[in-house]
Protein backbone atom coordinates (compact mmCIF):
# COMPACT_ATOMS: atom_id res chain seq x y z
CA UNK A 1 0.00 0.00 0.00
CA UNK A 2 1.38 3.43 -0.79
CA UNK A 3 0.37 7.05 -0.73
CA UNK A 4 -1.08 6.92 -4.22
CA UNK A 5 -3.81 4.54 -3.09
CA UNK A 6 -4.95 7.05 -0.50
CA UNK A 7 -5.88 4.20 1.82
CA UNK A 8 -3.17 4.64 4.35
CA UNK A 9 -1.67 7.79 5.86
CA UNK A 10 2.03 8.25 5.39
CA UNK A 11 4.14 8.77 8.45
CA UNK A 12 7.10 11.06 8.92
CA UNK A 13 9.92 8.61 7.98
CA UNK A 14 8.24 7.73 4.70
CA UNK A 15 7.72 11.38 3.85
CA UNK A 16 11.32 12.25 4.67
CA UNK A 17 12.56 9.37 2.53
CA UNK A 18 10.51 10.60 -0.44
CA UNK A 19 11.71 14.15 0.08
CA UNK A 20 15.36 13.12 0.26
CA UNK A 21 15.02 11.12 -2.93
CA UNK A 22 13.47 14.06 -4.77
CA UNK A 23 15.98 16.55 -3.41
CA UNK A 24 18.84 14.25 -4.32
CA UNK A 25 17.50 14.08 -7.87
CA UNK A 26 17.06 17.85 -7.97
CA UNK A 27 20.60 18.50 -6.74
CA UNK A 28 22.07 15.75 -8.96
CA UNK A 29 23.30 13.80 -5.93
CA UNK A 30 25.87 16.45 -5.09
CA UNK A 31 24.85 16.78 -1.45
CA UNK A 32 24.39 14.51 1.50
CA UNK A 33 20.80 15.24 2.50
CA UNK A 34 19.65 14.86 6.08
CA UNK A 35 16.64 15.96 8.10
CA UNK A 36 18.39 19.21 9.01
CA UNK A 37 19.55 20.07 5.50
CA UNK A 38 18.67 23.69 4.73
CA UNK A 39 16.86 23.87 1.38
CA UNK A 40 17.98 27.38 0.50
CA UNK A 41 21.27 27.54 2.39
CA UNK A 42 22.77 24.05 1.97
CA UNK A 43 21.22 23.08 -1.36
CA UNK A 44 21.28 26.61 -2.79
CA UNK A 45 17.77 26.25 -4.20
CA UNK A 46 16.06 29.48 -5.24
CA UNK A 47 12.47 30.37 -4.36
CA UNK A 48 11.10 29.06 -7.65
CA UNK A 49 12.94 25.76 -7.31
CA UNK A 50 11.45 25.26 -3.87
CA UNK A 51 7.95 25.98 -5.20
CA UNK A 52 8.55 23.57 -8.07
CA UNK A 53 9.75 20.98 -5.56
CA UNK A 54 6.27 21.15 -4.05
CA UNK A 55 4.72 20.44 -7.46
CA UNK A 56 6.95 17.38 -7.82
CA UNK A 57 6.15 15.86 -4.46
CA UNK A 58 2.46 16.68 -4.28
CA UNK A 59 1.46 13.77 -6.45
CA UNK A 60 3.54 11.34 -4.42
CA UNK A 61 1.41 12.17 -1.41
CA UNK A 62 -1.80 13.00 -3.25
CA UNK A 63 -2.12 16.36 -1.53
CA UNK A 64 -1.97 19.93 -2.76
CA UNK A 65 0.63 21.84 -0.79
CA UNK A 66 -0.14 25.56 -0.45
CA UNK A 67 2.85 27.81 -1.05
CA UNK A 68 1.83 29.60 2.16
CA UNK A 69 3.74 26.99 4.15
CA UNK A 70 7.07 28.08 2.68
CA UNK A 71 7.88 30.89 5.12
CA UNK A 72 7.83 28.23 7.84
CA UNK A 73 10.00 25.79 5.90
CA UNK A 74 13.76 26.00 6.22
CA UNK A 75 14.86 22.38 6.46
CA UNK A 76 13.84 19.00 5.12
CA UNK A 77 12.30 18.26 8.51
CA UNK A 78 10.16 21.42 8.40
CA UNK A 79 8.79 20.45 5.01
CA UNK A 80 8.18 16.85 6.03
CA UNK A 81 6.23 17.95 9.10
CA UNK A 82 4.09 20.29 7.02
CA UNK A 83 3.31 17.52 4.54
CA UNK A 84 2.57 15.12 7.37
CA UNK A 85 -0.01 17.58 8.67
CA UNK A 86 -1.59 17.97 5.25
CA UNK A 87 -1.78 14.22 4.70
CA UNK A 88 -3.32 13.75 8.13
CA UNK A 89 -5.92 16.44 7.47
CA UNK A 90 -6.96 14.86 4.19
Amino acid sequence: MNAMTGNIALDYPQIVAELKAELSRLSHGRFEIGDDTDLLGDLALDSLQVMNLLLEIEDKFDVSIPVNILPDVKTVRDLALQIENLVREK
Binding site: L54, D62, P66, N68
Partner: protein
Protein backbone atom coordinates in the same frame (compact mmCIF):
# COMPACT_ATOMS: atom_id res chain seq x y z
CA UNK B 1 22.06 39.01 11.26
CA UNK B 2 22.21 42.67 10.32
CA UNK B 3 19.41 44.55 8.63
CA UNK B 4 21.31 44.90 5.38
CA UNK B 5 22.92 41.43 5.29
CA UNK B 6 20.15 40.25 2.96
CA UNK B 7 21.63 42.44 0.25
CA UNK B 8 24.96 40.65 0.21
CA UNK B 9 23.91 38.25 -2.54
CA UNK B 10 22.61 41.09 -4.70
CA UNK B 11 25.74 43.10 -4.07
CA UNK B 12 27.92 40.24 -5.25
CA UNK B 13 25.76 39.73 -8.34
CA UNK B 14 25.99 43.39 -9.22
CA UNK B 15 29.77 43.40 -8.74
CA UNK B 16 29.91 40.54 -11.23
CA UNK B 17 27.95 42.63 -13.72
CA UNK B 18 30.34 45.49 -13.04
CA UNK B 19 33.31 43.39 -14.11
CA UNK B 20 31.53 42.79 -17.41
CA UNK B 21 30.89 46.50 -17.78
CA UNK B 22 27.13 46.14 -18.24
CA UNK B 23 24.04 46.06 -16.12
CA UNK B 24 21.08 44.92 -18.21
CA UNK B 25 18.76 45.80 -15.35
CA UNK B 26 19.78 49.45 -15.25
CA UNK B 27 19.63 50.45 -18.90
CA UNK B 28 19.14 54.13 -19.52
CA UNK B 29 17.35 55.17 -22.69
CA UNK B 30 19.04 58.52 -23.03
CA UNK B 31 16.51 59.77 -25.53
CA UNK B 32 13.34 58.16 -26.75
CA UNK B 33 12.81 58.87 -30.44
CA UNK B 34 9.72 56.88 -31.35
CA UNK B 35 7.86 53.76 -30.17
CA UNK B 36 10.63 51.67 -31.73
CA UNK B 37 13.80 53.75 -31.51
CA UNK B 38 15.89 55.40 -28.83
CA UNK B 39 19.40 56.49 -28.01
CA UNK B 40 21.25 54.08 -25.72
CA UNK B 41 24.95 54.45 -24.92
CA UNK B 42 24.99 57.33 -27.37
CA UNK B 43 23.84 55.31 -30.36
CA UNK B 44 20.59 54.94 -32.25
CA UNK B 45 19.02 51.65 -31.14
CA UNK B 46 16.01 49.63 -32.24
CA UNK B 47 13.75 49.05 -29.25
CA UNK B 48 12.49 45.48 -29.34
CA UNK B 49 11.81 45.06 -25.65
CA UNK B 50 9.20 47.64 -24.70
CA UNK B 51 5.77 45.89 -24.66
CA UNK B 52 4.58 48.74 -26.88
CA UNK B 53 2.53 46.30 -28.92
CA UNK B 54 0.40 48.73 -30.91
CA UNK B 55 2.98 51.53 -30.91
CA UNK B 56 0.48 54.08 -29.54
CA UNK B 57 2.86 55.98 -27.25
CA UNK B 58 3.43 58.67 -29.88
CA UNK B 59 0.01 58.53 -31.49
CA UNK B 60 -0.88 62.19 -32.22
CA UNK B 61 -4.48 61.83 -31.01
CA UNK B 62 -3.43 60.19 -27.75
CA UNK B 63 -0.73 62.81 -27.16
CA UNK B 64 -3.19 65.60 -27.90
CA UNK B 65 -5.82 64.14 -25.56
CA UNK B 66 -3.22 64.00 -22.78
CA UNK B 67 -2.08 67.56 -23.46
CA UNK B 68 -5.63 68.88 -23.42
CA UNK B 69 -6.41 67.10 -20.13
CA UNK B 70 -3.14 68.29 -18.64
CA UNK B 71 -4.03 71.91 -19.38
CA UNK B 72 -7.67 71.55 -18.36
CA UNK B 73 -7.40 69.35 -15.25
CA UNK B 74 -3.87 69.81 -13.96
CA UNK B 75 -0.84 67.64 -13.43
CA UNK B 76 -2.18 65.26 -10.83
CA UNK B 77 -5.17 64.31 -8.71
CA UNK B 78 -3.16 64.59 -5.47
CA UNK B 79 -5.08 61.86 -3.74
CA UNK B 80 -6.94 58.59 -3.75
CA UNK B 81 -10.35 58.18 -5.28
CA UNK B 82 -11.94 57.03 -2.06
CA UNK B 83 -10.58 59.77 0.17
CA UNK B 84 -10.21 62.59 -2.30
CA UNK B 85 -12.79 61.86 -4.97
CA UNK B 86 -12.85 60.47 -8.49
CA UNK B 87 -12.62 62.74 -11.49
CA UNK B 88 -15.42 62.39 -14.02
CA UNK B 89 -12.98 60.93 -16.51
CA UNK B 90 -11.98 58.11 -14.16
CA UNK B 91 -15.59 56.98 -14.23
CA UNK B 92 -15.92 57.58 -17.96
CA UNK B 93 -12.92 55.34 -18.62
CA UNK B 94 -14.42 52.66 -16.39
CA UNK B 95 -17.71 52.86 -18.29
CA UNK B 96 -15.86 52.62 -21.60
CA UNK B 97 -13.84 49.60 -20.45
CA UNK B 98 -17.01 47.87 -19.25
CA UNK B 99 -18.74 48.60 -22.57
CA UNK B 100 -15.68 47.37 -24.52
CA UNK B 101 -16.03 43.96 -22.87
CA UNK B 102 -19.85 44.07 -22.67
CA UNK B 103 -19.66 43.75 -18.90
CA UNK B 104 -21.43 45.45 -16.04
CA UNK B 105 -18.61 47.47 -14.56
CA UNK B 106 -14.89 48.16 -14.39
CA UNK B 107 -12.43 49.45 -11.82
CA UNK B 108 -9.40 51.48 -12.82
CA UNK B 109 -6.23 51.05 -10.77
CA UNK B 110 -3.13 53.23 -10.77
CA UNK B 111 -0.85 50.54 -12.27
CA UNK B 112 -1.21 47.09 -13.77
CA UNK B 113 0.67 45.66 -10.83
CA UNK B 114 -1.84 47.23 -8.48
CA UNK B 115 -4.75 45.88 -10.53
CA UNK B 116 -3.69 42.33 -9.71
CA UNK B 117 -2.71 43.23 -6.18
CA UNK B 118 -6.00 45.03 -5.67
CA UNK B 119 -8.26 42.40 -7.16
CA UNK B 120 -6.66 39.31 -5.63
CA UNK B 121 -6.27 40.76 -2.17
CA UNK B 122 -9.89 41.89 -2.16
CA UNK B 123 -11.50 38.83 -3.73
CA UNK B 124 -9.67 36.23 -1.66
CA UNK B 125 -9.08 36.20 2.06
CA UNK B 126 -8.11 33.94 4.93
CA UNK B 127 -9.81 30.58 4.51
CA UNK B 128 -10.23 30.96 0.74
CA UNK B 129 -8.24 29.11 -1.91
CA UNK B 130 -6.56 30.62 -4.95
CA UNK B 131 -5.42 28.21 -7.66
CA UNK B 132 -2.89 29.83 -9.93
CA UNK B 133 -0.88 28.78 -12.92
CA UNK B 134 2.71 28.21 -11.83
CA UNK B 135 4.02 30.73 -14.37
CA UNK B 136 1.80 33.59 -13.24
CA UNK B 137 3.32 37.06 -12.93
CA UNK B 138 4.85 38.33 -9.69
CA UNK B 139 1.94 40.76 -9.23
CA UNK B 140 -0.41 37.78 -8.98
CA UNK B 141 1.78 36.03 -6.43
CA UNK B 142 2.07 39.26 -4.44
CA UNK B 143 -1.69 39.81 -4.59
CA UNK B 144 -2.22 36.30 -3.27
CA UNK B 145 0.21 36.95 -0.46
CA UNK B 146 -1.60 40.14 0.48
CA UNK B 147 -4.91 38.27 0.45
CA UNK B 148 -3.94 35.80 3.15
CA UNK B 149 -5.68 33.05 1.18
CA UNK B 150 -4.37 29.54 0.72
CA UNK B 151 -2.41 29.57 -2.53
CA UNK B 152 -2.03 26.42 -4.61
CA UNK B 153 -0.09 26.38 -7.86
CA UNK B 154 -0.93 24.10 -10.75
CA UNK B 155 1.46 23.08 -13.50
CA UNK B 156 1.80 25.66 -16.21
CA UNK B 157 -0.85 25.45 -18.94
CA UNK B 158 -1.98 22.07 -17.62
CA UNK B 159 -5.79 21.88 -17.22
CA UNK B 160 -5.59 18.24 -16.05
CA UNK B 161 -3.32 19.31 -13.21
CA UNK B 162 -5.79 22.07 -12.32
CA UNK B 163 -8.63 19.55 -12.34
CA UNK B 164 -6.67 17.23 -10.05
CA UNK B 165 -6.25 20.03 -7.54
CA UNK B 166 -9.91 20.98 -7.81
CA UNK B 167 -10.85 17.37 -7.06
CA UNK B 168 -8.62 17.35 -3.99
CA UNK B 169 -10.39 20.45 -2.70
CA UNK B 170 -13.76 18.66 -2.72
CA UNK B 171 -16.61 20.99 -1.77
CA UNK B 172 -14.21 23.94 -1.42
CA UNK B 173 -13.57 23.88 -5.19
CA UNK B 174 -16.84 25.71 -5.88
CA UNK B 175 -15.56 28.85 -4.17
CA UNK B 176 -12.02 28.75 -5.51
CA UNK B 177 -10.52 31.59 -7.50
CA UNK B 178 -8.60 30.30 -10.55
CA UNK B 179 -6.00 32.68 -11.99
CA UNK B 180 -4.38 32.42 -15.43
CA UNK B 181 -2.90 34.79 -18.00
CA UNK B 182 -3.76 35.34 -21.66
CA UNK B 183 -0.19 35.45 -22.94
CA UNK B 184 2.51 34.58 -20.43
CA UNK B 185 5.15 37.25 -20.25
CA UNK B 186 8.25 35.09 -20.09
CA UNK B 187 7.83 32.58 -22.92
CA UNK B 188 5.03 34.26 -24.85
CA UNK B 189 2.78 31.21 -24.77
CA UNK B 190 -1.02 31.36 -24.56
CA UNK B 191 -3.18 29.72 -21.91
CA UNK B 192 -5.42 26.81 -23.01
CA UNK B 193 -8.41 28.85 -21.91
CA UNK B 194 -11.13 26.66 -23.38
CA UNK B 195 -9.86 23.66 -21.46
CA UNK B 196 -9.43 25.69 -18.27
CA UNK B 197 -12.98 26.96 -18.63
CA UNK B 198 -14.14 23.34 -19.02
CA UNK B 199 -12.49 22.50 -15.67
CA UNK B 200 -14.19 25.48 -14.07
CA UNK B 201 -17.56 24.41 -15.48
CA UNK B 202 -17.10 20.92 -14.07
CA UNK B 203 -15.81 21.83 -10.61
CA UNK B 204 -17.09 25.36 -10.03
CA UNK B 205 -15.01 28.30 -8.89
CA UNK B 206 -14.37 31.70 -10.42
CA UNK B 207 -11.93 32.53 -13.19
CA UNK B 208 -9.69 35.60 -13.33
CA UNK B 209 -7.75 36.11 -16.57
CA UNK B 210 -4.89 38.59 -16.72
CA UNK B 211 -4.74 39.89 -20.28
CA UNK B 212 -1.80 42.26 -19.70
CA UNK B 213 0.11 41.03 -22.75
CA UNK B 214 -2.88 40.05 -24.90
CA UNK B 215 -5.14 43.12 -24.65
CA UNK B 216 -5.16 44.83 -28.03
CA UNK B 217 -3.17 41.95 -29.47
CA UNK B 218 -5.55 38.99 -29.69
CA UNK B 219 -9.17 38.81 -30.76
CA UNK B 220 -11.01 40.58 -33.55
CA UNK B 221 -11.66 43.64 -31.39
CA UNK B 222 -8.50 43.27 -29.33
CA UNK B 223 -10.17 41.97 -26.19
CA UNK B 224 -7.49 39.39 -25.70
CA UNK B 225 -7.38 35.63 -25.43
CA UNK B 226 -10.90 35.47 -23.97
CA UNK B 227 -12.14 36.85 -27.27
CA UNK B 228 -9.84 34.78 -29.45
CA UNK B 229 -10.89 31.55 -27.73
CA UNK B 230 -14.53 32.66 -27.42
CA UNK B 231 -14.77 32.29 -23.65
CA UNK B 232 -15.48 35.89 -22.71
CA UNK B 233 -18.68 34.93 -20.88
CA UNK B 234 -16.80 32.39 -18.76
CA UNK B 235 -14.23 34.85 -17.47
CA UNK B 236 -15.57 36.21 -14.19
CA UNK B 237 -12.85 38.83 -13.92
CA UNK B 238 -10.58 40.20 -16.62
CA UNK B 239 -7.55 42.19 -15.55
CA UNK B 240 -5.47 44.30 -17.88
CA UNK B 241 -2.97 47.09 -18.03
CA UNK B 242 -2.78 50.47 -19.75
CA UNK B 243 1.00 50.32 -19.93
CA UNK B 244 1.43 47.97 -22.86
CA UNK B 245 -0.90 48.11 -25.88
CA UNK B 246 -2.60 51.28 -24.57
CA UNK B 247 0.70 53.12 -24.21
CA UNK B 248 -0.02 54.71 -20.83
CA UNK B 249 0.17 53.62 -17.21
CA UNK B 250 -2.49 52.06 -15.02
CA UNK B 251 -4.57 48.92 -14.81
CA UNK B 252 -8.15 47.72 -14.67
CA UNK B 253 -10.50 44.90 -13.91
CA UNK B 254 -13.85 44.32 -15.64
CA UNK B 255 -16.55 41.96 -14.46
CA UNK B 256 -20.21 41.19 -14.87
CA UNK B 257 -20.49 40.33 -11.19
CA UNK B 258 -22.07 42.97 -8.92
CA UNK B 259 -19.41 42.26 -6.31
CA UNK B 260 -16.93 44.30 -8.34
CA UNK B 261 -18.31 47.55 -7.02
CA UNK B 262 -17.77 46.34 -3.46
CA UNK B 263 -14.15 45.52 -4.24
CA UNK B 264 -13.52 49.28 -4.27
CA UNK B 265 -14.33 49.44 -0.58
CA UNK B 266 -12.08 46.58 0.45
CA UNK B 267 -9.12 46.77 -1.93
CA UNK B 268 -6.19 48.41 -0.17
CA UNK B 269 -4.15 48.90 -3.37
CA UNK B 270 -7.17 50.83 -4.73
CA UNK B 271 -7.95 52.78 -1.58
CA UNK B 272 -4.53 53.78 -0.34
CA UNK B 273 -2.92 55.17 -3.46
CA UNK B 274 -3.18 58.22 -5.67
CA UNK B 275 -5.51 57.89 -8.64
CA UNK B 276 -4.17 58.10 -12.22
CA UNK B 277 -3.42 61.60 -13.45
CA UNK B 278 -5.84 63.36 -15.85
CA UNK B 279 -3.35 63.13 -18.72
CA UNK B 280 -2.94 59.38 -18.22
CA UNK B 281 -6.70 58.81 -18.16
CA UNK B 282 -7.22 60.98 -21.24
CA UNK B 283 -4.57 59.27 -23.35
CA UNK B 284 -5.84 55.87 -22.24
CA UNK B 285 -9.42 56.70 -23.21
CA UNK B 286 -8.24 57.80 -26.64
CA UNK B 287 -6.01 54.74 -26.98
CA UNK B 288 -8.87 52.41 -26.03
CA UNK B 289 -10.98 53.82 -28.85
CA UNK B 290 -8.09 53.26 -31.23
CA UNK B 291 -7.35 49.78 -29.89
CA UNK B 292 -10.90 48.56 -30.44
CA UNK B 293 -10.79 49.65 -34.08
CA UNK B 294 -7.15 48.77 -34.73
CA UNK B 295 -7.55 45.71 -36.93
CA UNK B 296 -4.89 47.16 -39.20
CA UNK B 297 -2.45 47.56 -36.32
CA UNK B 298 -3.15 44.03 -35.12
CA UNK B 299 -2.57 42.72 -38.64
CA UNK B 300 0.72 44.62 -38.86
CA UNK B 301 1.75 43.43 -35.41
CA UNK B 302 1.00 39.87 -36.38
CA UNK B 303 2.96 40.18 -39.61
CA UNK B 304 5.89 41.60 -37.63
CA UNK B 305 5.98 38.95 -34.94
CA UNK B 306 5.52 36.14 -37.44
CA UNK B 307 8.40 37.58 -39.49
CA UNK B 308 10.71 37.75 -36.47
CA UNK B 309 9.65 34.35 -35.13
CA UNK B 310 10.19 32.69 -38.49
CA UNK B 311 13.52 34.43 -38.91
CA UNK B 312 14.85 33.32 -35.53
CA UNK B 313 13.47 29.80 -35.85
CA UNK B 314 15.07 29.56 -39.27
CA UNK B 315 18.45 30.34 -37.73
CA UNK B 316 18.04 27.44 -35.35
CA UNK B 317 17.30 29.37 -32.19
CA UNK B 318 15.20 27.63 -29.57
CA UNK B 319 12.10 29.73 -29.03
CA UNK B 320 9.78 29.70 -26.05
CA UNK B 321 6.47 29.31 -27.87
CA UNK B 322 4.59 29.57 -31.12
CA UNK B 323 4.43 33.10 -32.60
CA UNK B 324 3.15 35.92 -30.40
CA UNK B 325 4.35 39.48 -29.77
CA UNK B 326 6.48 38.08 -26.95
CA UNK B 327 9.27 36.05 -28.51
CA UNK B 328 11.63 34.39 -26.05
CA UNK B 329 14.95 32.99 -27.22
CA UNK B 330 16.12 30.26 -24.88
CA UNK B 331 19.83 30.36 -24.11
CA UNK B 332 22.10 28.17 -22.03
CA UNK B 333 23.29 29.78 -18.83
CA UNK B 334 23.16 33.22 -17.27
CA UNK B 335 26.56 34.32 -18.44
CA UNK B 336 25.92 33.28 -22.01
CA UNK B 337 22.60 35.11 -21.99
CA UNK B 338 24.18 38.18 -20.46
CA UNK B 339 26.91 38.32 -23.07
CA UNK B 340 24.42 37.67 -25.83
CA UNK B 341 22.19 40.47 -24.61
CA UNK B 342 25.14 42.85 -24.47
CA UNK B 343 26.25 42.00 -27.98
CA UNK B 344 22.76 42.58 -29.32
CA UNK B 345 22.88 46.03 -27.75
CA UNK B 346 26.23 46.63 -29.41
CA UNK B 347 24.51 45.66 -32.66
CA UNK B 348 21.94 48.39 -32.00
CA UNK B 349 19.12 46.15 -30.77
CA UNK B 350 17.60 46.51 -27.31
CA UNK B 351 15.75 43.48 -25.94
CA UNK B 352 15.09 42.13 -22.43
CA UNK B 353 17.32 39.79 -20.50
CA UNK B 354 15.40 37.41 -18.27
CA UNK B 355 17.18 35.23 -15.74
CA UNK B 356 16.12 32.64 -13.12
CA UNK B 357 14.26 32.67 -10.80
CA UNK B 358 12.12 35.14 -12.79
CA UNK B 359 11.98 32.61 -15.64
CA UNK B 360 10.32 29.17 -15.70
CA UNK B 361 12.36 25.98 -15.53
CA UNK B 362 15.58 27.78 -14.67
CA UNK B 363 16.17 28.92 -18.26
CA UNK B 364 17.87 32.16 -19.30
CA UNK B 365 15.98 34.10 -21.92
CA UNK B 366 16.46 36.88 -24.39
CA UNK B 367 12.96 38.30 -24.69
CA UNK B 368 11.90 40.35 -27.68
CA UNK B 369 8.63 42.22 -27.74
CA UNK B 370 7.35 43.17 -31.14
CA UNK B 371 5.37 46.29 -32.02
CA UNK B 372 2.98 47.14 -34.83
CA UNK B 373 5.12 50.25 -35.18
CA UNK B 374 8.22 48.26 -36.16
CA UNK B 375 8.96 48.55 -39.85
CA UNK B 376 9.80 45.38 -41.73
CA UNK B 377 13.30 46.86 -42.13
CA UNK B 378 13.62 47.06 -38.36
CA UNK B 379 12.45 43.48 -37.95
CA UNK B 380 15.01 42.44 -40.56
CA UNK B 381 17.70 44.41 -38.72
CA UNK B 382 16.84 42.57 -35.49
CA UNK B 383 17.04 39.29 -37.39
CA UNK B 384 20.39 40.32 -38.87
CA UNK B 385 21.80 41.04 -35.42
CA UNK B 386 20.71 37.61 -34.21
CA UNK B 387 22.19 36.05 -37.33
CA UNK B 388 25.54 37.75 -36.72
CA UNK B 389 25.62 36.37 -33.21
CA UNK B 390 24.45 32.93 -34.23
CA UNK B 391 27.75 31.90 -35.72
CA UNK B 392 29.87 32.31 -32.61
CA UNK B 393 27.42 32.39 -29.75
CA UNK B 394 27.95 28.77 -28.85
CA UNK B 395 24.31 28.47 -28.05
CA UNK B 396 23.26 25.50 -26.06
CA UNK B 397 19.59 24.90 -26.50
CA UNK B 398 18.15 24.53 -23.06
CA UNK B 399 15.56 21.90 -22.48
CA UNK B 400 12.12 23.35 -22.30
CA UNK B 401 8.79 21.72 -21.64
CA UNK B 402 6.91 23.67 -24.27
CA UNK B 403 7.38 23.24 -27.99
CA UNK B 404 8.72 25.80 -30.38
Amino acid sequence: MGLFDKFQGLSAARRELGTLGIDPFAVEIEKILSPTEGIIHGRRTILAGTNNYLGLTFDPDCVKAAQTALAAEGTGTTGSRMANGSYANHRKLEAELAAFYGMRDAIVFSTGYQANLGMLSALAGAGDVVLLDADCHASIYDGCRLSGAEVIRFRHNNPEDLAKRMRRLGARAADTLIVVEGIYSMLGDRAPLKEIVAVKREHGGYLLVDEAHSLGVLGERGRGLVEEQEVLADADFIVGTFSKSLGGAGGFCVSDLPVLDLVRYSSRPYIFTASPSPATIASTRQALTKLAAARDLRARLRANYERLHAGLAGMGYTLGASPSPVIAVVLGDRLEALRFWNRLLQHGVYVNLMLPPATPNGVSLIRCSVSAAHTSEQIDAVCAAFADLRADAGIVAAELGTGT
